[in-house]
């Protein structure tokens, strides 16, 4: 526990840098996406499904997606980045993995809250229907990323050339996960294909429970849960089995 605490403080310091600019970047990224996409789709002239204001609709997609991507990439590089720390026998690979995950969840929860408060203050309707479900799915998406990232971390250690595929896979995921659309607007014949993507399910569920005006007929909690628990257990197990091999020099 004390190791985890020490690691969290340390990650916080290194992640945010001496001038604490890291925290600013954590906000800037989702914010620029929201602004740019809002401009592209026409500020407030076009509303998202259910009459929801587009920037808020975007934010409920982008911030959870960025959390997912961050947990994947941070988990993936955990061994690489913390190699120096394994010099101290108290620091176990799993501690560093967990510290990174917890920090990302905290960061993007704060980003989400601050964004919504800010947008509400700026005059947008940010009323949330069911915050608990939104948070649980948000967290679930993070856990999915953790499992996926743990697996990617092992791959990165064993076959670094092959592991390059992970960030490449994450890029198109941005466009097919429903960040700027909901499944309803997709032609029926393509919906089945898109719905293989568990991240799309997560975003559908989050929006269905965030906005009173949006009902999701596609977001399937069970489907998301199966992916999450599947990847989480397989990822952490693989990480556990390979932990000594990854740390050993």
């Amino acid at each position: 526990m004390r190791v985890l605490h020490a690691l969290l403080l340390r990650e916080l310091k290194t992640r945010f840098g001496i001038y604490r600019l890291g925290m600013v970047w954590a906000f800037v990224e989702p914010l620029t996406h929201v602004i740019v996409l809002s401009v592209i789709f026409g500020i407030r002239s076009r509303t998202a499904p259910g009459g929801v204001e587009f920037p808020i609709f975007l934010a409920t997609g982008i911030i959870p997606f960025v959390l997912f991507r961050a947990t994947v990439t941070r988990a993936m590089s955990t061994i690489e980045a913390n190699r120096a720390l394994y010099t101290y026998a108290q620091v176990k690979p799993f501690d560093t993995l967990l510290a990174r995950f917890i920090l990302e969840v905290i960061i993007y929860t704060v980003v989400f809250l601050v964004f919504m408060v800010g947008a509400g203050w700026a005059g947008f309707d940010v009323a949330v229907q069911d915050p608990l479900v939104v948070f649980v799915v948000f967290l679930g998406l993070g856990l999915f990323g953790l499992g996926f990232g743990a697996l990617a971390c092992v791959l990165n250690d064993a076959l670094p050339d092959v592991a390059q595929i992970v960030p490449i896979l994450l890029r198109p995921l941005y466009f097919i996960s429903g960040i700027f659309f909901s499944v309803e607007v997709i032609p029926v014949e393509y919906r089945g294909w898109l719905l293989w993507n568990p991240v799309l399910h997560a975003l559908e569920i989050i929006r269905g429970h965030y906005f009173r005006a949006i009902e999701t007929h596609y977001g399937d909690p069970l489907y998301l849960a199966v992916w999450t628990f599947g990847f989480l257990s397989f990822g952490l197990l693989t990480f556990h089995v390979y932990r000594t091999r990854m740390v050993a020099t």
Binding site: R2, V3, H5, A6, L9, R10, K13, T14, G17, I18, A84, L85, Y86, T87, Y88, A89, Q90, V91, T244, V247, A248, T249
Partner: protein, 219 residues
């Protein structure tokens, strides 16, 4: 006591397993300072890392209930973007020092011992290798361990600092056990009481350092 039971360490290479240690069973008694003797690449440092729990054996078991240090003078355990103070604080925290006052006392000790002045509050990446070594040694000395793992440490820093390190180690000689990996036979003879020769993947323990040095030189 530190017990190694059938410990092997190998690295996979294209030509199959490359053994550094093969089926090593040895007991290192508490209170007897040990020298690990071996030529470069014999596996002294690997053995130290295994004992310190930093690296893991490919097969076999290492067991001990004693508190074992990380290799003294180690400079790889720092995060370059953090200051010396932050790095030292981290080491305090993972070693179970939680109270503010206790941490401050340790930090004061490290700052004082390392003698790197205001650099203590600069990022470690700006340090020279000598300054890193000073910080590493000071950190090791800030904690009480049952076993100190020493990997060629006596060759770090300038003359004055080296003398100070030796004084500090000598002061602890009575209450803890040193495991020294070195090929400097003179320092080893001064510090250690028993010797272990690491050669061809095996470890042979000699109950007397003079005997060990002799056997090492004979080979």
């Amino acid at each position: 006591m530190i017990a190694l039971d059938s410990v092997s360490k190998w690295y996979p290479t294209r030509q199959g397993r490359k053994y550094v240690l093969r089926d090593v069973t040895v007991r290192l008694p508490a209170g007897r300072h040990v020298a690990l003797l071996g030529v470069n690449g014999a596996g002294k440092s690997t053995l130290l890392r295994l004992i310190g729990g930093i690296d893991y054996p490919s097969a076999g078991r290492i067991s001990s209930s004693a508190r074992i240090s990380w290799p003294v003078g180690l400079t790889g355990g720092f995060q370059g973007s953090l200051t010396g103070r932050d790095n030292a604080r981290f080491v305090c925290q993972i070693n179970g020092i939680a109270e503010r006052a206790a941490i401050r006392a340790k930090l004061d000790f490290v700052e004082d011992f390392a003698e790197i002045g205001s650099y203590f509050d600069e990022p470690v990446k700006t340090y020279s290798s000598g300054m890193r070594a000073r910080l590493g040694f000071a950190l090791s000395m800030a904690f009480e361990f049952d076993y100190y793992l020493i990997d060629e440490v006596l060759s770090v820093g300038d003359h004055g600092f080296r003398a100070k390190c030796q004084r500090e180690l000598a002061a602890r000689r009575g209450r803890c056990t040193f495991i020294v990996a070195s090929h400097n036979l003179n320092t080893v003879r001064e510090i250690c009481e028993i010797g272990a020769i690491v050669r061809d993947g095996g470890v042979v323990l000699y109950p007397d350092i003079a005997e060990a040095v002799e056997a090492f030189q004979a080979a």
